[in-house]
């Protein structure tokens, strides 16, 4: 019987960079980038799927907006004005759903990034690579965020062109700062969901559950005050 050493003879030993050195950070950044590129290559191999996913945020938003327009008189709601300080139902709902799209990304795309590798049969291979697992997830998260960004941009442009949005220019920069902070939290949330998706084989139910509950409990298309006290 051969010893382990006989199998590994001739193989080049690779030293894994550890610690907070410049070389290590560069290597991890490269891993994040390569993971992101790999995801894009897979994504763009199915152009129909990619196109569908890009228009999906808009398709889901349209019925919500049409319903709101029917309820409000000429897109203005006195009750909404009293509750949140703006009576423009379209602007209020669209801004909520633009952010909600990224929460959906954290729950669905980031959450399923690791599970997908399991389906493809490549999870073991990427796990034994000499790189941090966090870098692998961050690489996939980078792809998910850019992907969602494209969908959100398309959604924004169409809604702006069709319905028009009353946005304050001076509020855009602070909003982007808040948005960036939210993305960090969502990254952590995505990693949490991805671990759950690995444990529970019917992970889509976990993701759908989180997404639905977050949609109800977050002030996306209505303020928290309309929820029952316990839900608030």
């Amino acid at each position: 019987m051969k010893k382990i050493g006989e199998y590994t003879r001739g193989l080049e030993e690779v030293s894994c960079p550890v610690g907070l050195s410049l070389a290590n950070i560069k290597a991890e950044l490269r891993a994040i980038w390569e993971c992101n590129i790999k995801e894009w290559k897979i994504e763009l191999a199915y152009p129909v799927n990619f196109t569908r996913q890009c228009i999906e945020p808009l398709i889901f938003l349209l019925p919500i907006l049409i319903f709101a327009l029917l309820l409000a008189d000429e897109r203005f709601s006195a009750n909404l004005l009293r509750l949140v300080g703006t009576g423009d139902v379209i602007t209020y709902i669209v801004t909520g759903y633009l952010i909600m799209g990224f929460i959906g990304t954290a729950v669905w795309a980031m959450g399923f990034s690791i599970r997908k590798e399991q389906w493809y049969g490549t999870l073991e291979f990427i796990y034994v690579t000499p790189t941090s697992r966090l870098s692998l997830v961050l690489g996939m998260a980078l792809h998910s965020v850019v992907h969602q960004g494209i969908g959100t941009l398309f959604e924004f442009v169409v809604i702006y062109a069709v319905f028009g949005l009353a946005l304050k220019i001076e509020g855009i920069l602070p909003a982007l700062v808040i948005f960036a902070l939210m993305m960090f939290a969502l990254g952590g949330f995505g990693i949490f969901i991805s671990s759950l998706a690995l444990i529970f084989k019917e992970g889509w139910i976990i993701s759908e559950g989180f997404h639905s509950i977050l949609t109800i409990l977050s002030p996306v298309s209505y303020p928290l005050t309309v929820l029952p006290n316990i839900a608030q």
């Binding site: 999906e56 019925p63 919500i64 029917l70 309820l71 709601s77 909404l80 019917e202 759908e208 309309v226």
Partner: protein, 285 residues
């Protein structure tokens, strides 16, 4: 004593057995994954409850005079609930029947199924019947909860007409699902096709809003969907308190769409089946 039966009777029995076996198989699958049963029972509530909260934020009450201008009723909550319950059939038909053929391919059983000496249409009928049973169980649970918690009024007089409308709607939806199943044999991406069709129903059918809220060109697309006529008819009976004769036109149009959808569905499925058998691409995925 052995009963002798003619080939026609035997064939009828065999086809019935085929449908029955398919129903039993699908029910066993459903029972093996109780979490999926729980999902379809609970989650549809989450999908429409946001519309109720949204309505309360915009209107500040349970009625909207602005909504009544196009919907005919100011009560938006029952309007949304009826739309959500009937839309449940769309989701289960598209993802249940439409994707079922692809699921057989994933499970590695499609080759055996298609090479078996039976009429393939009855396999699909079996799948459709089992989906109808499970969808109806979910719909009854949803309706029961909505009657108790959301004040939906359901009188005995409208139950029979609603059942007729539901049967006609389900037939039409399964015609569309057959087309989807046929296309998925050739184009493989069944999930994408099902999603795309779901979007068409979500936007162009009056699920969340009346058809009149859409632009004229979108209303024309909506008029080709069986769900549109079913929703108009059920809402007319339940919300607008109209009589059955008042909705006969919707039922007639729904029937015409059913005939067209079922004919096209079977034709497309048989054509795609022959095509994929010839190309040898049945079990590719």
């Amino acid at each position: 004593m052995i009963m002798e039966s003619g080939p026609q009777e035997t064939s009828l029995k065999a086809n019935f057995f085929l449908v029955w076996s398919e129903v039993v198989k699908n029910m066993k699958f459903l029972m093996a994954y109780p979490v999926i049963f729980i999902f379809w029972t609970i989650f549809p509530f989450f999908w429409f409850i946001t519309f109720i909260f949204q309505g309360q934020a915009i209107v500040g009450g349970l009625q909207s005079p602005s909504f009544a201008k196009s919907a005919g009723t100011s009560e938006y909550i029952p309007f949304i609930i009826i739309g959500a319950i009937l839309n449940g059939y769309v989701l289960t038909s598209l993802y249940g029947v439409g994707e079922s053929i692809r699921r057989e391919a994933y499970q590695g059983t499609l080759d055996y199924l298609l090479s078996s000496p039976c009429n393939k249409a009855f396999i699909l009928i079996g799948k459709a019947v089992s989906e109808t049973i499970s969808s109806t169980v979910y719909a009854i649970i949803h309706l029961f909860v909505c009657v108790i918690f959301f004040g939906i009024e359901l009188t005995l007089g409208v139950i029979m007409p609603i059942m007729l409308i539901l049967i006609l709607m389900i037939l039409g939806l399964y015609g569309i699902a057959l087309m989807l199943a046929g296309l998925s044999l050739q184009f493989k991406q069944a999930h994408d096709l099902a999603h795309t069709l779901e979007y068409v129903f979500l936007v162009f059918a009056p699920v969340r809003y009346p058809l009149e809220a859409l632009p004229f060109w979108a209303q024309i697309i909506g008029r080709f969907l069986p769900l549109t006529y079913a929703l108009i008819a059920v809402r007319s009976l339940m919300l607008l308190k109209q009589d059955f004769p008042a909705i006969y036109q919707q039922i007639l149009l729904l029937f015409v769409i059913d005939v067209l959808a079922i004919f096209l569905g079977f034709y497309l499925f048989n054509w795609m089946e022959k095509r994929t058998k010839k190309s040898g691409a049945i079990s590719q995925y």
